[in-house]
Point group: C2
Chain length 412, copies 2
Amino acid sequence: MSDVLEVARRARTAAAALAPLPRSTKDAALEAMADALVARSAEILEANALDVEAGREAGTAESLLDRLALTPARVEAMADGLRHVAGLPDPVGEVVRGSALPNGLEVRQVRVPLGVVGIIYEARPNVTADAAGLCLKSGNAVLLRGSASAYRSNTAIVAVLAEAATAAGLPPDCVALVPGTDRASVKELMSARGLVDVLIPRGGAGLIETVVKESQVPVIETGVGNCTVYVDAHADLEKAVAIVVDAKCSRPSVCNAAETLLVHADVAEEFLPKAREALAGVTLHVDERAGRIVDGVPATDEDWAAEYLSLDLAVGVVDTLDDALTHIRRWSSGHTEAIVTRNLAASRAFTKGVDSAAVMVNASTRFTDGGEFGFGAEIGISTQKLHARGPMGLPELTSTTWLVTGDGHVRG
Amino acid sequence: MSDVLEVARRARTAAAALAPLPRSTKDAALEAMADALVARSAEILEANALDVEAGREAGTAESLLDRLALTPARVEAMADGLRHVAGLPDPVGEVVRGSALPNGLEVRQVRVPLGVVGIIYEARPNVTADAAGLCLKSGNAVLLRGSASAYRSNTAIVAVLAEAATAAGLPPDCVALVPGTDRASVKELMSARGLVDVLIPRGGAGLIETVVKESQVPVIETGVGNCTVYVDAHADLEKAVAIVVDAKCSRPSVCNAAETLLVHADVAEEFLPKAREALAGVTLHVDERAGRIVDGVPATDEDWAAEYLSLDLAVGVVDTLDDALTHIRRWSSGHTEAIVTRNLAASRAFTKGVDSAAVMVNASTRFTDGGEFGFGAEIGISTQKLHARGPMGLPELTSTTWLVTGDGHVRG
């Protein structure tokens, strides 16, 4: 058995021991893990410095090095994250529904851990502690597969977390780093059906696409966001400008930022110049009709498909709400679409016609977020339809089981 | 584009038109489909007779031919099934949870159709109508891929259903048979990621395993049941006998039938002879300790792993409840396990220690069933942990979306 499969096998054993543990034990372990991160931050920072040095020597961009680099403050923030998760309700044991059947059987559908969760992620080492905390809190063993560039950092962090977790009463091997930094180790993880219950890729579109296509382990797709704001004929244009600016500019690098703006022809001449002025520093990629009203680069199909993650925005003019829906159905990644309108029928038609994880009416696309929704924490934003859709908190890291209690009941 | 992908592409278009339709339209269509099945039963029976004849010529076993054969009564039963589904509540539009956020945004998580559901199934042509009814009621377009041996029957049934559905106001192509009877057509269906939202294989373990391994479309695993009854040291032995007999004999060919019996050593000498007597006609495959108490064929690892679906039962004696859990963790297919006990601590330990879709306490494994649970209808029993686990009714054929309503809200 390969190293990766051996680690997965051990995680499976750990998962069986972890599942029945009460909240108090898990919370105490998360607190101990937080304390250990701070107490042993010197060795974590030392390992991280080697990763950063290697990255710099390899010519990695400064922006990426900044994402990779840890500081005492960033380690503190990781510890605070774990303490925060300890304070959240435990989803395990929640009774989702239940009833007494006509024959007297008592039936309850109860949340249970998924088992072994594999997280495949890029760059930032703080994901290591975040993901471990959320998985353990929800009773799951966790296999972490970070990027090669953060391998030393992740090794140090996982060593600290695993030691503290076990000392606090969690089973050995409930947190583990997937050994190896090459593609082969990811492949093996994706083949570990029966040992790993779900893989969650967190990162760029390329990574997610690869995992979705190649994995035999069930996958939850996260995070690719080609989000659209549609400004309706009946929009309050001032609010529309504020929403578009917020959706595009408040944090352009995240998945819930807007990438496309569609404007109804009736208001395009009035709205687009206002939007152009407010979107300072944003490059507009305009279709022909929008280009007649405001300056911009001509838009191609690549623009409609793009998740820019930068200060770029594709802009089109449509004749009807239906045309906007047709555009969205063709180009959206199914993350979040927004309509700005004062008209109730338009709002209703838009929310019924869009097939995305979230639909905003008179609100910025940026609100699709576990924190904003009040989940307390988020493992990612699912853009698939099975299991979980939209922001995923702790309950989304669970499955359910049916508990049925009788007194000698038979069907006969 | 291949024929299969073309059918899938059309189903995708149909799904967008189907999703917003109200319950009344869908129910009227189901009633019309039921009427059409009865009105046009002659052509369905004619096509079916050709399938049965071809099967007989090919040397198909009589038991399989009986599953394949339709009669006027069986066509009536298919129609009644559709009428029954029309009477069930529509899951689409159900608000799963919702709240007003501190900033005044109103958030609702609402059930929506999955989109395009593919069903891959074997033998019985009644599944064609059942699956179509459940998928359409939950707002999904449906692609049906039955077995080659029922291709003429399924073609006739789908033609009748599709014509009636469209005449009643459902979009064209919302019900379609996957063209072709060879493996290639299944392969293409499994590759139709982005067109098909989920595949549900219904049939033998081999079919399910193939689909799970090879599909790029997300899959819901159904139905393989290696179910265990554990008779605890504190069991009421009379009730235990009744439960084991019901679990094994009331319908041996179904997935919720028991395949393994584990007995605590403290009661094995008293219980096993009683059970042996009550299990008339059942072949016991016994481990060494059970074999010292009752007659049987020596059990091998193949017996512990077997889903017999016949009057065979693997029987073992265990020293502790923990040993029973270890056995179940190793051999169970994760469908249903049962404990018979009067002891509350044993019941608690068993339900916490078993990782299956359903756990029965003092009840037969046969109760894991959508009908018994009061779902009204069932598309299958999921043995996987993502999305749905256990009996799947109409809500399990939906996803959710987040609808967020504001008044110009921005995150800033």
